[in-house]
């Protein structure tokens, strides 16, 4: 064999980078894993929303007049005047119109009448878990942002620790030992690096934005938070004499004429009904990564200008792209599927990394069977508890009950993993996931029998059944391989006992 063209890495650098990689991974892998799983599912949050409430009124578009009528109907029926009023316009992946106030949200029908209240408890639970880990909002966002930072750190230290990153670009030796795990972990990490680095970084930016803004406001603007954000997201126009109902329909019609290429996503009425009220329409530019631009109108429907996210400074355009890059909603269904697969790969990278650590300990004569079992409990406990809470939500569970069920269940599964060992907890975890998914689909079908064939239900129900069936095959294989619950505990666990 000839001389390699690849540069040699310093063994000291590799060793130290591996140490840094391990320190970070062992500290935060549980929370990072939860965020990756929930983030992967969150890419499809609109599909889950539709599935959870399939009988909501749907439409491809809504007329400006109907949207205004529904919005004002909801606004005038509020017990307390709402400081903001939102219209979510129908989108290809969520063809529904929703009117939201400070306290509640209702569906609008295509004729401008108001339908029932919006209700998707499991999707909300999932999003709250991904955004805040169910902690108080600013604290939760900051913790989630910090996890994004550590994922960036893991990517950096992983790349530094990779002595033969180019030489081994496609090496993949299949098997069930540590070499195979290392190949799986390293190859997937390297080739999907653009995805997981950009996702971790944008997640960190979104999560840490509040803390950063507080620090910058203190350092530069005497604590004025608004002064930090205004250059990017614009300032509220100083308007007077605007009292009365806002001319929402007039604003919508005007924007459709000015920018016929835009897809309207939201209308936001600030301080509706008051003297200083104004209307912001968010128009999505379908050929861009930005979430859209704000087009501002006074209450009479006169155009005041746009914020500049689409055509302003490069900083505004980058800031406007962060959300979409993170959540993968910039390229329709193909990009959502790609994000779903990349998310699944990131789950595999996380799991294989920790599995390598435990294998290495075993090989060094320092097995940690309880810790390994606990980690396996987390790996399979998260999907198990998500699927069981889905079944619970479809059967009527919501809010704090879902949160409590998830966290108590996960702690229980992780604890049980440490007690009964990784093989057994894997079996029970997969089994519970299969049961949860099947129960969710059965309960949903019983609750909405007339909607079974609808576009809101069929794709998601089929997907859940296919996942359950695939996991069922895995479960069968685990049993066949003699790693099921009937098998005695591993020698290491026995030794630990």
């Amino acid at each position: 064999m000839g001389r390699s063209i690849w540069p040699k890495a310093s063994s000291r650098r590799v060793g130290r980078s591996l140490e840094a990689h391990a320190v970070l991974a062992l500290s935060v892998s549980v929370l990072i894993y939860i965020l990756i799983v929930t983030g992967t599912l969150s890419v499809f949050n609109r599909e889950f929303q539709r599935w959870e409430q399939p009988d909501a009124p749907e439409m491809a578009t809504i007329s400006a007049e109907a949207a205004e009528r529904a919005a004002l109907l909801v606004f005038h029926n509020e017990a307390e005047p709402s400081t903001h009023l939102y219209i979510n316009f129908p989108q290809p992946d969520l063809p529904r119109t929703v009117i939201t106030t400070d306290t509640q949200a209702f569906y609008a029908r295509a004729d401008g009448t108001v339908g029932g209240p919006e209700r998707f408890p499991w999707t909300q639970f999932l999003l709250d878990l991904h955004y805040y880990l169910h902690l108080p909002h600013i604290l939760g966002l900051t913790v989630v942002g910090a996890m994004g930072v550590f994922l960036v750190g893991l990517s950096l230290s992983g790349l530094l620790a990779h002595p033969r990153i180019f030489r081994d670009a496609f090496t993949f030796r299949r098997g069930d030992d540590r070499v195979s795990l290392a190949d799986l972990h390293n190859r997937l990490s390297v080739w999907t690096a653009p995805f997981h680095i950009s996702n971790a970084l944008t997640g960190a930016m979104l999560g840490l934005a509040t803390v950063l803004a507080i620090a910058l406001a203190a350092a530069r603007y005497d604590g004025d938070l608004e002064a930090v954000y205004t250059p990017v997201f614009g300032e509220e126009p100083a308007l007077e004499g605007q009292a009365g109902d806002p001319a929402i329909a007039q604003s919508i019609r005007d924007l459709s004429v000015r920018h016929p290429d835009l897809r309207m996503t939201y209308a936001i009425m600030h301080d509706p009904g008051t003297d200083g009220q104004h209307v912001q329409l968010i128009g999505a530019h379908t050929d861009r990564l930005i979430f859209g631009d704000y087009y501002v109108y006074d209450a009479k429907g006169n155009f005041q200008g746009n914020t500049g996210i689409s055509d302003g400074s490069i900083g505004q355009q980058i800031a406007g792209s962060v959300y979409n890059v993170h959540f993968g909603n910039w390229g329709g269904t193909p990009i959502k599927i790609a994000y779903g697969l990349f998310g699944l790969i990131l789950c595999t990278i996380t799991c294989s990394g920790l599995s390598m650590y435990f294998k290495k300990r075993e090989e060094k004569g320092r097995p940690a069977p309880r810790l390994a079992g606990g980690w396996e409990g987390v790996v399979w406990g998260v999907p198990a508890m998500l699927s069981l809470t889905l079944a619970f939500a479809v059967s009527g569970g919501e809010g704090p009950a879902l949160v409590a069920a998830f966290w108590l269940g996960l702690i229980g599964v992780a604890g049980a993993g440490g007690w009964i060992g990784k093989e057994r907890i894997r079996f029970y975890g997969i089994g519970s996931t299969v049961f949860g998914l099947t129960a969710a689909v059965v309960a949903h079908t019983m609750r909405y029998p007339d909607e079974l064939g609808s576009a809101a239900v069929l794709p998601v129900s089929l997907f859940l059944i296919v996942v359950a069936a695939l996991l069922g095959v895995v479960l069968f294989k685990v049993e066949q391989d003699g790693k099921g619950p009937a098998e005695p505990a591993s020698p290491a666990l026995k030794q630990a006992e």
Binding site: A20, S27, V149, F170, F172, H285, E363
Partner: protein, 193 residues
């Protein structure tokens, strides 16, 4: 418009596949594959640039990167499936190594490093970022661009310090570096803020 772009989209796919194939071929030779490696990266770069013309430049480039990752993942899967599954050799169970750690001092050091990597490195990165923001504002950078620089600098700075804290073996040195990053900007912020 959409119809007219199909040839360009197919070209993006072809360039991505060609680039990944070239890198795969270079890897297979396991020796002086410098030309194939260069060609591979060049084709992948060309795929990303061409993709930028299929729609808006930012969205197009992102689509190109997703296509490149998907093609590389395809070759990786091919390589994985091509290899027969190896049987791991049964290993002699090793006797447990005597561990020197697990003393209160060892635990104390671990907890301290945890704090160093987490909140202390985070505050240090925040402090440096605030100084960078104020300095760039004083230098005349527009507020929106400056804010985005800060958005990137804070998490990247924190991640860099966290990796450094795990990388460096000498506790006092990493504590000093992170401590300096935390404290040094504060008087400068007081003066220039």
């Amino acid at each position: 418009m959409g119809e007219a772009l199909w040839p360009l989209r197919l070209l993006v796919l072809a360039l991505s596949l060609g680039g990944a194939a070239s890198l795969y071929a270079a890897w297979k030779t396991k020796r002086s594959g410098g030309f194939a490696v260069g060609l591979g990266w060049l084709l992948l770069l060309a795929a990303t640039i061409c993709a930028a013309f299929t729609t808006g430049a930012d969205k197009g480039a992102a689509l190109g990167i997703v296509t490149v990752i998907a093609c590389a993942a395809g070759f990786l899967s091919f390589e994985a499936l091509r290899n027969p599954r190896r049987q791991s050799k049964p290993r002699e169970p090793k006797t447990a190594e005597k561990r020197s750690g697990l003393t209160p001092a060892w635990w104390g050091r671990r907890v301290f490093v945890g704090f160093l990597v987490g909140p202390i490195a985070g505050l240090a990165a925040l402090s440096v970022t605030a100084l960078l923001y104020v300095s760039l504002a004083n230098a005349g950078l527009s507020a929106s661009n400056n804010l985005v620089v800060a958005f990137f600098a804070f998490p990247l700075g924190w991640a860099g310090l966290a990796v450094w804290a795990g990388f460096d073996e000498i506790l006092w040195r990493k504590s000093a570096v992170i401590g300096a990053a935390l404290l040094a900007p504060l008087p400068l912020l007081a003066i220039s803020g």
